[in-house]
Symmetry: C2
Subunit: 282 residues, 2 copies
């Protein structure tokens, strides 16, 4: 073991014997590795924590329960306690970052995310968040350990986003068609009759494939996206103006104020009038 | 209702009918209010979410199940689904920020934090995080909703920190004695025999009251803080150097390498040698 080897990995671990503060789960450790061609690692079943690995550059091979997966840049996979895993560098180099989280509620929270633990393409590794996590984990104060847990949680939620289309980002910014679709929605959602058919027409695209593509990149259908824009505008107008409900309905693209009120209540649990009353019940 | 009233509150709500992505809990809404003397609000039991309220300036009165609490600057309280609450401005003004989180796992996660929902002093309201939350909640993309949930989770963990000593911060920075104690630990933890007695001696303070004070401000006892500094140094030396275990023990303040190994294993689950082997099992 020479010092060159040591500069290729880094790890910070919270002492297991002392949960840092009362909670259902915590950040436990994090690190990174610039692995060379001869790197391989095993994990026996039974380690009582969730592990997340995010590839920054290069490629690895993951073996799990007899299956073999190629792991590339922008891909994430998870190691769960009950399975035996084995992984190694695929060709000449594999640079990845990882974190572990433990606590009685972490595994059930992972399952609530409804994603596969196998390698999935989600987008570039959030290296700044991983760097903050390393720094926070190495500081013993309870405040730092709380922030470490919040940072690990943020990385976990980013890592469980819908599989990206492989263009290096999982939002519209980097996808010209979807970026244009989002702009078109921003421009049009206040108009009566603006819907996914109209959106497809304006973009000169076929509705079904546009919807599917939009959902893959944005995580929501264009219809749901338009509805949310209208709902947010409605709550904003109800909070910030004294406009009548009928006028607010119109500004959100609804000609029929009663239909608007039913639509709003379905989403918020209360009618537009009750929503405003609750906000201003002085 | 005039426009002046409207400028004194702001609220962003995610539509209830559509969970933004699969998870155990989500950010649901957030807002702030500059409440005047005549402000009061009720909440009936049964609303299926957790609400967090953080006072920025001024004061309010919270009535819950027959009890009455004064709520001041830097104090947080929580509203749980099952209880009837009523709150109002205490004197002339009450400025607070709030958020709600929903989802099947949010209430059990709140209980895992082992804090009282009643008003507690925790430190200044993290207004930047609340502003980010407002912005993220108003954006319909799944990515924004994931980041909104991570931000709400961060605020929740900060709000559940141990009650501060009332000096406006819950870390050592603002407390001269504890800041000096932390510096003394940074200087001394590598030395053999450095412990809480030695720390108290160097500061010219009585050990028991120093420990209690340190725990209140930092959330951990000075002994645990010293042990964590030593543990972090040990993991760093094991990862980044090829020093012998005996030498690492010495640099962490242990004269007896066997004792160090048992101490390390108790905390990490593995011996120092195994820890290094796992890190470098190429």
């Amino acid at each position: 073991m020479n010092s060159e080897v040591y500069a290729q990995t880094r790890m910070v671990l919270r002492p297991m014997s002392t949960p840092p503060f009362p909670a259902g789960f915590w950040a436990r450790s994090s690190g990174w590795r610039q692995a060379g061609a001869d790197y391989c690692s095993r994990r026996k079943p039974g380690a009582p924590y969730l592990e997340l690995m995010w590839t920054v550059e290069g490629a690895g091979i993951l073996h799990v329960d007899g299956a073999e997966y190629q792991v590339e840049k922008d891909m994430v996979f998870f190691l769960l306690p009950e399975r035996f895993r084995y992984y190694r560098t695929a060709s000449t180099a594999w640079h990845f970052r990882w974190l572990t989280m433990d606590g009685p509620a972490i595994i059930s929270f992972f399952y609530s995310l409804q994603i596969s633990p196998e390698p999935r393409r989600v987008g570039p590794c959030p290296e700044d968040d991983f760097e903050s996590l390393l720094m926070l984990l190495s500081e013993p104060s309870q405040r730092a350990q709380r922030l470490a847990t919040a940072t690990a949680f943020k990385i976990l939620l980013c890592a469980s986003a819908p599989t990206s289309t492989g263009n290096g980002q999982n939002e519209g910014d980097s996808n010209p068609l979807i970026a244009t679709a989002v702009q078109e929605i921003e421009r049009g959602f206040r108009e009566f009759g603006f819907d996914v058919n109209e959106l497809a027409r304006r973009l000169g695209k076929e509705r079904t494939s546009l919807s599917r593509h939009f959902k893959t990149v944005m995580g929501v259908t264009p219809s749901a996206y338009i509805a949310r824009k209208r709902f947010q505008l409605a709550t904003r107008l109800l909070s910030l103006t004294s406009l009548q409900i009928k006028e607010i309905a119109r500004q959100c693209g609804f000609l029929d104020a009663d239909y608007f009120s039913r639509w709003f209540k379905q989403r918020s649990g209360v009618s537009p009038g009750e929503f405003r009353f609750q906000l201003f019940d002085t």
